[in-house]
Symmetry: none
Subunit: 229 residues, 2 copies
Amino acid sequence: MSSTARNTTRERLEARESAILDAAEGIFAQAGFDGAKIADIARAASVAEGTVYLYYKNKRDLLAGVIGRFWSQQTLGAEAAIDKEASTLDQLEQFGRYHLQSILNQFDVVSLTYRAQPQQAQDLDQVREYVKVFDRIMKQGVDRGELPPHTPVGHLRDVFFGTLEFSSRTLKLRGRSYDHSVVTNLLFLIAAQDQVKPASLETAAPSNEDLMKKLESIQRQLKELKTAK
Amino acid sequence: MSSTARNTTRERLEARESAILDAAEGIFAQAGFDGAKIADIARAASVAEGTVYLYYKNKRDLLAGVIGRFWSQQTLGAEAAIDKEASTLDQLEQFGRYHLQSILNQFDVVSLTYRAQPQQAQDLDQVREYVKVFDRIMKQGVDRGELPPHTPVGHLRDVFFGTLEFSSRTLKLRGRSYDHSVVTNLLFLIAAQDQVKPASLETAAPSNEDLMKKLESIQRQLKELKTAK
DNA sequence: ATACCAAAATGAATTTAATTCATTTAAAAT
DNA sequence: ATTTTAAATGAATTAAATTCATTTTGGTAT
């Protein structure tokens, strides 16, 4: 078996698996898990019914495949949407905006996530990876001193994802589209919490003295500019 | 048909319907919606399979019955758990504690809620009633002057239920039981928001930090000007 | 190029479980 | 006591997931 041939074969199999996943995602999203018939999915993927079972053990497993792929892509998308150089709060806002927008745009696929079996731990592995994006932002925030060391990341994670999830349902229910104020309000809440608790010296807001010094420096520079002309 | 007889008949029918709902709740909670067999439910309720279909159109409708009854009871329980004389924040804490405790205790039944069809509006009528408990507390808070008039109740509703829901999943996942700090932290967040500013970032007064950032940006531009010369 | 093998694919047959319905049983009315 | 109506039954039907005996395909060796 030549290397080229092996590649061709594998590529053919992967293309077929992709076709099945694509078909399944479409039919599941459109008809729901129960409403989707393997026969329809097979037809949409241009394979025989039995072929689906060569790639996935059963309908549940196929669902897990669709969900896993979706959340993997979400993780990549989120990482692309976040500016590594931005402040922690800005990163959180970028992530929040990305999250809300994408779960709204792909509401039907996201809803399928709840049909996975939480008992089957690996069914939700990719969701767990996605959640880690939040954890990394928060950890970096603490390391950088932008968040207090005692920041309750676990709680805030549930606040963040819970709020955005429920907000997306509310928006959908009311037939409304993405609303940035949801993210803004949420960030406000999270930021407010940080302010209330005793902040470390590093994170202390600049004093008026600091501002005045900065202004005086600017004033000096302006004078230099004027005289230089 | 005598009044007594009519009563006896109706009572008999209601008892039977109750038996079916009890059986369904038990089997659904234990086996999940897909895993539950109508045959098992019928056996547990001591009726024939066909009898189930005299009371409920199909399996989905039976699920809706179980969910509806559960959330109706939740509404009654919540109203009993809330002291009408207490302050708004105390009432919110009482409700939050009740909500988290009960969704943890009856996690399997609550999970079934996500199997209802959001399209079928009336499937979730009782859930909507339950949510109104929150709205009434908030409205009363605004009327009493304990909350600012512009309090974003809709947004806070999603924060409240979303956070508690996700927190319950986290606790379940980690095999932990009710943790009051979840409620405390949530209340803290909500209270902080009221104190700070509930609207959007646009209307917020700029913090010293914001001023400092703006000044630093001006300073950078000045430097560029100077070196450009 | 041909024959052979193993992997992949097929779709008809099987299985499982929801739903229906002709029949029976029980209750209410006359 | 008889008739009528409502409720209940469970065997038969139906729908859809899953299996599996058979066929097809692609790669390898002669």
